[in-house]
Symmetry: C2
Amino acid sequence: MKETDNSRRARRGSGAITVRDVARLAGVAPITVSRVLNTPAQVSPDVRQKVLEVIQKTGYVPNRMAGGLASSRSRLIAAVVPSTVMSVFMPTIETLNETLFDAGYQLMLGQSDYSAAREEALLEAIVGRRPDGIFLTGILGPSQGRTRLLASGIPVVETWDLTPTPIDMLVGFSHADIGREVARFLMDKGRRRLALIRAEDERAQRRADAFTEAVQRAGLGPVETVNVGASRSLRSGREALGHLLAQRPDVDAIFCSSDLLALGVATEARVRGIAVPHDLALVGFGDVSFAADMAPALSTVRINGAEMGRLAARCLIDRAEGRPVSPAVFDVGFSIVERETT
Amino acid sequence: MKETDNSRRARRGSGAITVRDVARLAGVAPITVSRVLNTPAQVSPDVRQKVLEVIQKTGYVPNRMAGGLASSRSRLIAAVVPSTVMSVFMPTIETLNETLFDAGYQLMLGQSDYSAAREEALLEAIVGRRPDGIFLTGILGPSQGRTRLLASGIPVVETWDLTPTPIDMLVGFSHADIGREVARFLMDKGRRRLALIRAEDERAQRRADAFTEAVQRAGLGPVETVNVGASRSLRSGREALGHLLAQRPDVDAIFCSSDLLALGVATEARVRGIAVPHDLALVGFGDVSFAADMAPALSTVRINGAEMGRLAARCLIDRAEGRPVSPAVFDVGFSIVERETT
DNA sequence: ATGAAAGCGCTAACAT
DNA sequence: ATGTTAGCGCTTTCAT
């Protein structure tokens, strides 16, 4: 009764319980409720007790949007991934999300679908939310989005790649090194007619180029390449092997741009009676969970995606909480895992 | 110069450009800038033009947290999934996210890791953000979280299941029907010694129970079941087949709780020289992208995950924008896709 | 240890 | 069609 003076403007409001309500019921000022929640040490035990009781009783849940506005700290982190379904990036996102959540942050997830236009739109939407940090899959070339991020001043971590010109922080590894090392690995195994099956994406391209260059430098002629475009499925791998064999029936080793493609190639090889690894060696990329458990088990390039997620989360949290991050560039490396397909 | 009167309290602020800055530069009131962005039709073309120019020049990006606070509309939707890596739920999340983004909403993603405790914590964090809607994977039994959601008044859509007592909206299908129909399907194929390989989760349990009951009702004795627990990998499938054969070497049909488990079973069967489907029929669940492309191609239960995501997004958007949603319950059904493993 | 005042950046309500 | 005013619910600053 006569509590609220709404004699003039009828202002909406969500109708939910607010700090004011809790404060009134506990007989304290709103700021005290805020302190009980955020800096409990500053409040005497009995007052704290009383306030917590009221919170419990009323089911009060603080409005973090309002808190974020007042404190300029949203406790929101945005992440952009190219895709989510059966994607090699998900272990990274999973640990990113876990680490963030345990530190009191939440994750906003956007998919770019490997489209630059969509990525731009995403970045604009993201900046509008004033997240405390942004996680990017891959590195961002010169673009309006890059400019916008730079201008926003929001901490950014680029991942899954290396560049001499990061926007801010960087957690990645060298795709060129991978291409070179896998080529060397296969050639050391005595393979001589090497080929590539890859999806259309910038990083796969970088691995492919280095692979090709290394093979040619070794004097092993051209590297037949099948580009499956945007279709990263098991089926693409099967079909790609068909195309490849039509071009170059004597191929004896293939480096695939993903483990799923490699599983497709292995499947098609089995159906065609091609012995893996005897007739055909196979190397995948990603070391996803099924790679070790296929029959034959897949040799592949292991990326510690979970570690990247954890590290990226740590970088962003540290910066969000005002701690400097140095170094700001981490090369998490990779390793070639030899199994049965080579 | 003498623009701002900060003679008294030095109040922080993020330092970013605000509506006020834009308004001043364009020679209009802040609300006019707001209208240019939100209801452009209400502003005369020349003023609109001028304001847009200033926005362009300054790189102004509206603060949506502030907007959300003022309008009680966050344009944020939260989603809870059990897991994200190689998960059958991701196609749903992908279309959910796409549909939301195209309508101007953003997605906050939380993982429960199949843990009720974590789910509770997530729901509390989510409610604190005052999202315009919440997407839940699965249905939420009586719990503090359910009470909290009900109390919050936020639109909720539960998915991937059916219940007579939804919190709010529901987009799902019947797991019991699936169990029954798969049992019937396999028995109609002449299979007599049926078994189950399943992960530890409530919905898989429901399918398994109905499957077992249907088999027993048909007088085909007990259904051997291997529960792989939380480990949903290809390896689990391989190992589970080993265990199953140790218990019941004469099994002639297996219903797996996921396609990935089924791929594991198929792999192990091949390694052991068991002919699929001749000696052993196999049915998966999910119809994930690789199911059709395995060799032999996997018979499985198709769920239209993408459709569920789209539909759930539509429900949430409609409710967020004040449009009533009726009916509020959608059964998207399922279908048994027969391929080579049966 | 607690509180009063001010205001984060935006938009709804009420003018004109 | 545009502006004025008053908040949304919280936290910072300053005072006691």
